[in-house]
């Protein structure tokens, strides 16, 4: 059997934890980026607290959705992926926005 549906009594928890996963993932990403910009330790701590809350939500979501086997691996991937992604994107931002002194004409040829 591949899936075991959510129990009626857990509908709310399933919707709520799913929504929180995405919201907390975004909040964590924002706090992480902001802590880098502002260089404030408190923001870094807030980012970690948010990430911890995200982990709790992933666990709750996995529990009410009766995840096992493949689906648990997916949960793990989400937990790691949403944690690592903002860091990777940040490095990518910093690397791609490096100062460049070539003068670029608008509409010019670039490839």
């Amino acid at each position: 059997m591949l899936i075991e549906p959510v129990a009626l009594s857990d509908f709310f928890l399933s919707f709520f934890s799913a929504a929180l996963i995405i919201l907390l993932a975004a909040l964590y990403a924002a706090l992480f980026a902001w802590s880098k910009i502002a260089g404030r330790r408190s923001l870094g701590i807030a980012a970690w607290v948010t990430y911890f809350a995200l982990l709790v939500c992933v666990a709750l979501f996995s529990y009410v959705n009766h995840f096992s086997g493949y689906w648990l691996a997916l949960s793990l991937l989400m937990a790691l992926g949403y944690g690592w992604m903002p860091r990777f994107i940040w490095r990518l931002c910093a690397a791609t926005h490096q100062p460049d002194h070539h003068h670029h004409q608008p509409g010019g040829h670039h490839d």
Binding site: L2, P5, A33, C93, T96, P106
Partner: protein
């Protein structure tokens, strides 16, 4: 009124229209492609109004089922509602591409005359299709009906003759784009855009044939719907945004193009096989559970990337902006896209819960916010850019004459759509409980859920917020017609990115 006075009035109206059109075609502030773009934007706004009107009619029928019964039934209103949406989005995208084509390629549009002809042909065809929808509505169960009246497949109901017409028009559009870039400068944006248009046109073919087997029918139907909305449209908007970021905020081309490629990798990487989340219950094999689930979990990643990037940009650069309404709509886009596609999508996407939410108002709730947030907002932002340029690249910063109007329109539209989304969410939540889980999706269960006070009240609130949305839409139309007229100050100058 006698026949002659009526004729006189019609003739006067016609010559008035022709004169206004001639005046517009002499506008010194716009290039040939930009004039064609404004044609597309104008029809897009008219269709947006039609979408709102028929949405209201369909919404009213939930409250008063005998309203327009057997005159304009729910299926007709709902079909015009969603078709008007699809077509106005496409008009907005096509218009936006014509808008920046000359600037991006550095040459005049190749074969502009054909593009103009295609616009009038397409607009005439759309009008005819809608008139047939409204006045003929349905035919007998044979091929003639599918070819001439209605194909009866949600979102792509347009009869077959119109499908063929749409493909011809899109090929003309494609010719304009590809030939112009080929003659002028080819850029990264040009490459992504041209390939994306090939995919966009090619995918439409997947929706142009009839099969008896409903599972095979829906398999290909999703190729068009999903791979348009969650893949090729997203990338098309990415191209439009990439150009806008250079023009609006002066971001360097190399950065914009690198990020366009990153976006393509993320969007297509998660979106193409994300198609799997539509293949849970249509007869297709069980392995789509795993594929659909996996890629659905990946689909919010581009949104998270966007959050990091926005914070990075706001911290590192101090961007100036010369068009406040457009910027406000781009901000609405980031929030609407994140909530509508990201949060609302993930809440009901995995098969463990989708078993109960599939085919309920959940989809309507998600659909309203996601289409609005991801696409309507970005088109509206572009309409404001066009209005600014058409009126002589005038000031559109703070303390604008009648600046209340664009603000009120934006607030009403955003709150209205969000309110409808929440109302439909409550209806869908109740439906998944009562109809799906407890009553097991029987007809009696369906109606038990429809008659439940939670559902009925949700439909009332949907109507209230629908009226708010329509008011905002009307105000937006008025504002786009008026904004910048009589404005003497030139637009604020945006310097190229300093660093």
């Amino acid at each position: 009124m006698t026949a002659t006075t009526f004729q006189d009035k019609a003739a006067a109206c016609w010559s008035g229209c022709k004169q206004r059109h001639a005046e517009f075609m002499a506008n010194p502030h716009l290039s040939g492609g930009q004039k064609l773009a404004v044609h597309y934007f104008t029809v897009a706004m008219v269709l947006f109004m039609a979408q709102l009107l028929f949405g209201l009619l369909a919404g009213l029928q939930f409250l008063f089922p005998s309203f327009l019964y057997e005159i304009l039934d729910f299926n007709v209103n709902r079909m015009v509602h969603i078709n008007a949406m699809v077509v106005w989005m496409l008009y907005g995208f096509i218009g936006s591409v014509y808008w920046f084509l000359e600037d991006e390629s550095g040459v005049e549009i190749v074969g502009l005359k054909w593009g103009q002809l295609a616009f009038w042909v397409l607009t005439g065809a759309v009008t005819l299709v809608v008139l047939v929808y409204l006045f003929i509505q349905f035919g007998a169960g044979n091929d003639t009906s599918l070819w001439l009246i209605n194909e009866g497949r949600e979102y792509i109901e347009a009869p077959r003759w119109a499908d063929i017409g749409i493909v011809v028009v899109v090929l003309t559009f494609f010719y304009n784009v590809a030939a112009t870039f080929a003659k002028g400068q080819w850029s990264g944006i040009a490459g992504v855009l041209v390939l994306d248009l090939v995919a966009l046109a090619g995918l439409y073919l997947a929706g142009m044939f009839y099969v008896t087997n409903i599972s095979v029918d829906q398999y290909w139907w999703w190729w068009v719907i999903h791979l348009w909305v969650e893949a090729t449209w997203e990338v098309l908007v990415g191209c439009i945004m990439a150009w806008s970021l250079m023009k609006l905020l002066g971001v360097r081309r190399q950065i914009v193009q690198t990020w366009l490629y990153i976006e393509v990798a993320l969007m297509f990487g998660s979106g193409i096989l994300g198609l799997g989340h539509h293949y849970f219950w249509i007869g297709t094999p069980e392995y789509w559970f795993s594929i659909g689930g996996f890629f659905s979990a990946l689909e919010p990643i581009p949104l998270v990337a966007m959050v990091v990037h926005s914070v990075y940009d706001s911290g590192v650069h101090r961007f100036k902006n010369s068009n406040h309404p457009a910027l406000a709509w781009i901000i609405a886009h980031t929030f609407g896209n994140f909530l509508g596609a990201g949060v609302w999508g993930f809440m009901h996407t995995l098969p463990q819960i989708n078993l109960y939410t599939h085919g309920t108002q959940w989809s309507a709730s998600h659909g309203h916010l996601a289409f609005f947030g991801a696409y309507a907002t970005i088109n509206i932002a572009f309409f404001y850019l066009a209005a600014q340029q058409a009126r002589g690249n005038v000031w559109m910063g703070g303390d604008l004459a009648n600046g209340w109007r664009w603000k009120a329109a934006a607030i009403l539209l955003n709150l209205g759509v969000l309110g409808m989304t929440v109302a439909l969410l409550i209806a869908g939540y109740e439906q998944s409980f009562i109809e799906r889980a407890v009553e097991g999706s029987t007809w009696a269960g369906y109606f038990a859920a429809q008659n439940h006070p939670w559902f009925m009240q949700a439909m009332v609130w949907r109507m209230v917020f629908g009226l708010m949305t329509a008011a905002g839409g009307g105000l937006l139309f008025w504002d786009l017609v008026e904004i910048g007229k009589g404005e003497q100050r030139p637009a604020a100058v945006i310097a190229s990115q300093a660093e």
